[in-house]
Symmetry: C2
Subunit: 293 residues, 2 copies
C-alpha cells in the first residue's frame, strides 16, 4: 500500500534571521496563525535541525511553532553565556525581539532549564510550560548523571547515531529502533540546514549545565514561584538528567502534571511522538480550562 | 443558559446478582457492548455506590463497565478474606463467573493492589491495567502512611463528607471543592442503593492492606512479571498510599506509563474527571497500538 504523507512544513520552512539586542538570531517559524505561539528551547549541542519535525509538524497544525538558535548556537551570532540564567536571558530577548507578548514554551533538557527561568522571570510573557527530560536547579541533589554519560557527548558524527542513540533512548530494541527513526526524521531536511554547534559554545553550555546541576538545592524554593501550569514529561530511564528529577520538578512546581513513558530515555517524546503530541495538545489547548464536574 | 445533561446510566443501572463459587456477588453492568469490558476493583470501605458515576458514565460510552461488590462487601455474601491475594481470588472468581475471558481492570487504592495480583495470576484474562492511587507490595519501604491517616477511616457518616474529603482530596480550596462535587455525584442515586461495608469486612480488609504495605519489598520483583500495559495514576499529595509509591510502581512494572495530577490527593481521578477519562480512553483504546513514527 502506498501512503501519501502530508508534506512536512518543519523540514522545508526557511531559516529566517532577527537582529535584536546585538545578536543576529537564526530561527524558523511556521504553522497555523491561531492562539498562543509555541517557542521551543533546545537541548545541549542541538541546533535548528535537532527539533523533531514530526512533533513540530503535529503541533503546528494548531498554532505557530517557533524554533530558534540561542546566542552563539548554530547560525546565531554572539558569545554563548556560560550560565543557564544567561541563556534564558537570550531566549527572552529573542521572543521580545519578535514582538511577541504571550507565548507557551516547550523546553527539552537544558532547554527545559532555560524555560523554567524564562517563566520565572517573565510571568506575563510565558503562559504555559512543557518541560521534557529536564530537572530542577540543584538536580544532583536528587540523582546525579553517571560517569559514563558525559563522554557520550563527544561522539558526534554527521547524523548523530553514535551520540544521540545512547543519550536520548533506552537500551531496549524498541527504544533504539525508535531512535533510528528519529535520526532519520532529523536528517530529512536537504536544503538550508543549520551548522553544527561550535566547540566554544559547547564548552560554555557545558559549564552552564554543570553549574545548574550542582547548585545548592535550597528545597527547590524557586519552583514555587513559577505559577504557570506546567506539563513535565520524561522517559523511564533518562541517563542525562535522571528521571527522578522529573518527579521532583513536578512535586515542587506550583501547578504541574507529570507524564512518564515506559521503556524510554532522555528523548522519550521522540519515541512516543503521537502520545506526546496528544498530551501537549490536551495541556495547551484544553486542560487548564477544564471544568471540575 | 439551561444545559440538558444526558441521563446518568451509572446512577440508574440496576443492581444484579451472580451466584458463583459459593458467593452471591452484587454488581452493576452497563455501557456500549463493544470491545473489551472494563472491570472496576474498589477501594477499602467502598461499595457499588462509591464508584464515581461521572467516570463510569464517560467510560461506558465506549465499552461495557462492570462494578461489583467483592466477597463480603456491601450486598455480596461470603466472608471477606484478610489478604490481598484472597480478595484478588474473589475478583477473578467473579469475572470468570460472568463468563468473561478478556477484560481490562481499573483498580483504585486497595482495588489497585487487587488488580495487580489478578493481572499477575491471570495473564490471559487481563488485557490492560489502570492503577489509581495505589502502590507496590511492600509500599511502606518507599513511603509509609502517616499516623493521622488511619483514624480518618473511622469518621464514617452517611454521605462520607467527614471521611472521604480528607482521605481522597488535597487540603487546597480547589481540591476540597472538587471533593464536595464528588460526594454530590455519589449521592445522586436515589433508589437501589448499596449497603455500607460491615465492620467485620472492614477489619479483614484493614488487615489485608496492612500486610500488603508491610510485606518485604524484595525489589518489587513480582512487578516485572506483570507484562500487561499499565497506566498508573495518582495525585500529588496522596496521604493514604503516598504518591512516591506510584512512581515506584511505574518504575518496576514491565510496561507502564505514569500520570500524576497537580494539587490533588488519593482520589485525583475524582477531581480531574475529564483529564482522567481522556487518559484512560487513550490508554485503553489507542496507545499500546501506537505506531512509532
Amino acid at each position: 500500500m502506498t501512503v501519501s504523507m502530508p508534506a512536512s512544513v518543519a523540514t522545508t520552512a526557511p531559516t529566517r534571521f532577527l537582529d535584536t539586542g546585538g545578536v543576529r538570531f537564526a530561527y524558523r517559524r511556521f504553522g497555523a496563525p491561531a492562539g498562543v505561539p509555541l517557542v521551543f528551547t533546545q537541548h545541549f549541542m542541538g541546533n535548528l535541525d535537532n527539533f523533531d519535525p514530526a512533533i513540530a509538524d503535529a503541533l503546528a497544525a494548531g498554532r505557530e511553532v517557533i524554533l530558534f538558535d540561542n546566542v552563539g548556537v548554530g547560525q546565531s551570532t554572539g558569545t554563548a553565556p556560560n550560565t543557564v540564567d544567561g541563556i534564558a536571558a537570550g531566549a527572552a530577548s529573542f521572543i521580545d525581539g519578535l514582538g511577541l507578548t504571550n507565548v507557551d514554551v516547550l523546553g527539552h533538557s537544558m532547554g527545559g532549564e532555560v524555560a523554567q527561568l524564562v517563566a520565572l522571570d517573565r510571568p506575563d510573557l510565558v503562559r504555559r510550560l512543557v518541560l521534557v527530560g529536564t530537572g530542577p536547579r540543584g538536580a544532583d541533589a536528587i540523582a546525579r548523571q553517571g560517569p559514563d554519560v558525559g563522554p557520550l557527548f563527544s561522539k558526534r558524527d554527521e547524523l548523530g547515531l553514535n551520540m544521540w542513540l545512547p543519550i536520548m533512548f533506552a537500551p531496549s530494541k524498541a527504544s533504539q529502533a525508535a531512535g533510528r527513526a528519529f535520526i532519520h526524521r532529523i536528517s530529512e531536511r536537504t536544503v538550508d540546514r543549520d551548522i553544527l554547534v561550535s566547540g566554544e559554545t559547547i564548552a560554555a553550555h557545558r559549564a552552564a549545565a554543570r553549574a545548574w546541576a550542582t547548585a545548592p538545592a535550597d528545597n527547590f524554593s524557586y519552583l514555587r514561584h513559577i505559577a504557570q501550569p506546567a506539563l513535565v514529561v520524561n522517559g523511564s530511564d533518562d541517563i542525562v538528567i535522571p528521571t527522578l528529577n522529573s518527579y521532583y520538578l513536578y512535586q515542587y512546581l506550583a501547578n504541574a502534571e507529570l507524564v512518564l513513558f515506559p521503556d524510554s530515555g532522555h528523548g522519550a517524546h521522540f519515541q512516543y511522538v503521537e502520545r506526546f503530541v496528544r498530551r501537549v495538545i490536551d495541556f495547551l489547548d484544553v486542560e487548564p480550562d477544564d471544568t471540575v464536574f
